[in-house]
Symmetry: C2
Subunit: 446 residues, 2 copies
Amino acid sequence: MTTHEVLPIDSRVAYPNRAAIEHIQNVALPRLVARAWLHIPFYRRLWTQAGVNPDCVTGLDDLRRLPIIRKQDLEADLIAHPPFGSFQGDFPAVRLQASSGSSGKPKPVLHTRADWENITNLWARRLAAQGVTSADRVQVAFALALFIPGFTSMEGAMKLGALAIPAGSGAMTQSMRQLEIAREWGSTVLGATGGYALHLATEARERGFDLKRDFSFRVMYHTGEPLVEETRRQIENAWGVKSFNNYGSVETGAPAWECEYQHGMHFNEDAYLFEVVDPETLDPLPDGEEGAVVVTSLFKEAAPVIRYMIGDIASIWPEACACGHPFRRLSPIRGRIDDMLKIQGAAVYPTAIEATLRQFPEIGPEFRIVVDCKNGRDRLEVQIECAPDQNDTVNDLAVRVAQRIKERVGFSAAVTAVPFGGLATAEDVARRTKNRYVVDLRKTQP
Amino acid sequence: MTTHEVLPIDSRVAYPNRAAIEHIQNVALPRLVARAWLHIPFYRRLWTQAGVNPDCVTGLDDLRRLPIIRKQDLEADLIAHPPFGSFQGDFPAVRLQASSGSSGKPKPVLHTRADWENITNLWARRLAAQGVTSADRVQVAFALALFIPGFTSMEGAMKLGALAIPAGSGAMTQSMRQLEIAREWGSTVLGATGGYALHLATEARERGFDLKRDFSFRVMYHTGEPLVEETRRQIENAWGVKSFNNYGSVETGAPAWECEYQHGMHFNEDAYLFEVVDPETLDPLPDGEEGAVVVTSLFKEAAPVIRYMIGDIASIWPEACACGHPFRRLSPIRGRIDDMLKIQGAAVYPTAIEATLRQFPEIGPEFRIVVDCKNGRDRLEVQIECAPDQNDTVNDLAVRVAQRIKERVGFSAAVTAVPFGGLATAEDVARRTKNRYVVDLRKTQP
């Protein structure tokens, strides 16, 4: 192996202790930096400006010499160097996937054959940790197009010898059809966003199915949007499954996953470095303290991310996990920096509102957070779905929900109830992957 | 290699002469039959009833001792042995794809890891013959869900080192977005049904694009529906590309492909046996004579098809092709047996009507064939799209179209013109894969 080759990531490998993990990282980081310097103009430019070169990075301790990059840096690079930017390098890419992009335009991310093998190996590792075996039938209900996790998780399932069933999202296979596929072909595992897994539960109930008796699901895996604990519990209770969160993005690959203990997400320390920094000062924060997550992909050839502020708020948990795996854990994601709503100067995360709503079983899975500004004053409205024919109960419910939201986020919200189905159609839910719940009218108001 | 192992199919291999090809077939057929006898109850039952066992099949000459199977046999087996039938065997499958199924229910077809590797190798072979190289950017605009060719052709492109871009059909990525992807990311190859390739041309023109200047396409590959010659020419003229037909189905894999000469489809004789038989008597027909296509997949593990009447009408061309490839050719598909419309006792194929319409550049790509029955008499109506504001011209056009149809199919049709967009939306077109043009009202009439 030359110094510029990437590490092949094994789908099964485990490391005996921290020293073994750190040894891998100390080898991989200088190799990554040397490769990026040689092949990726974006980093060469950036590091030259910062006065860094590969000789400055001989091991893990030198990581902080490298500048932190943000989504906006990659977007600006795409505009300056169309069509694929200068951050992807000159590697022979065989696959393009894209993120939805904050500007509404998909951001292309290239993958070499080795990248594809490694990311799908990492998905095999995730799914194995979540109990998927060769005996499973894995229905993949993620959008199969530019959005990446449907493809990579499907390959991961195939690598475990499971039977992969590419249903695609509701835009390709409508929810009733998804339910028929699951029932008739005996799907035991569902891959879907948490929102879509809940939506399918509603659809199944409306059509008179008994979710536990009529279906064979035992595991559901999610990614693509933060999964709040209360949503997970609703999925688990509705379907009688274990439901697992997985953290990643098209830029990073498949970094972090929940084990059977469902308490924080182990990150693949043989393939990624994780840091948490202060989002304003960019100073490193100690383990356990909440801040902006920064990821370095040690194994990627095309478009590796090196100190990439992925945009999420979380903390690193250094404590050993009960499962015994030596990989450290990321806390549940508090929210995306981009999703944070500043309302009258206070920070509110949509996930906090979601978590509150999930405590009310009489509220449907869909909701909307509408923010606007009247007479210079920000207003927060939370729209929920519930049964239409009990007006008194609905009013009472709205009052109780508003009270709980105020307790949790410290801020008064108007709660409006609409009948079930009033907020979204199945196809809408299936298409959306991010920011599904927020409508911020202030952005469109003068 | 034991006698029961399958052949690995090389994506590049070519054979020097017929003797070499027949040697492969003589080895593979007895092996396939022995494997099916051992592992696949469906064939064991069928052959026992027919008084055949593996000892009866020592080489190619014994193929005709095996009974021919039809789509209905597989469908009945699925009902008798849910959920996957007894025709798939007891092999460890990692992937389920499905055909749309004549009954409206998708027919599941399982694939082992070796099947997936082989079918994607065959796609790499097809695309290489059609001029795709590692320098290409391949936009895959087939439906990515249970329909198989989007996935397998994308893997084939990746195996050639090309950059695969999974756009998915119009249901996932609407036509305007497809055009933006193609333009901004410089797609050079498009994979789509012929109908969708034409539809995209219409969309691009309506939005004021210059199809040849604004896009970088040079090759388009099609499958999933018969591609009539006149449709191919419209695609080629509109986009300034070479457009290639590929023949197959989820049950068979990727058997036949056009070479650069676009004259008949070579079938992969190291992986398939092709026969043409009389659709009524099932008697073999000599080369050159048109009849029902019967396919045997030599290499498939799960769900191999052995003497499977795929449902299409064509002939085998034994003559050497100008390209020099020793694989024989299948003629262009005349139509599907199922698509054949019996109108007043005469056989009419939708492809014949399509071919006629494509000769009129003033007619849009969408059309509908509506058949009904009034006073015991079958009636054929052909609905076309053309510009709305020239009534006299439209009437004159309809008369000329009706005349040409009568010349070609020997049958009078009423031709009705509606304005552009009157017959279908982009999403409709993208979702459909078969029988896109026919509405037979007789089936719903008492």
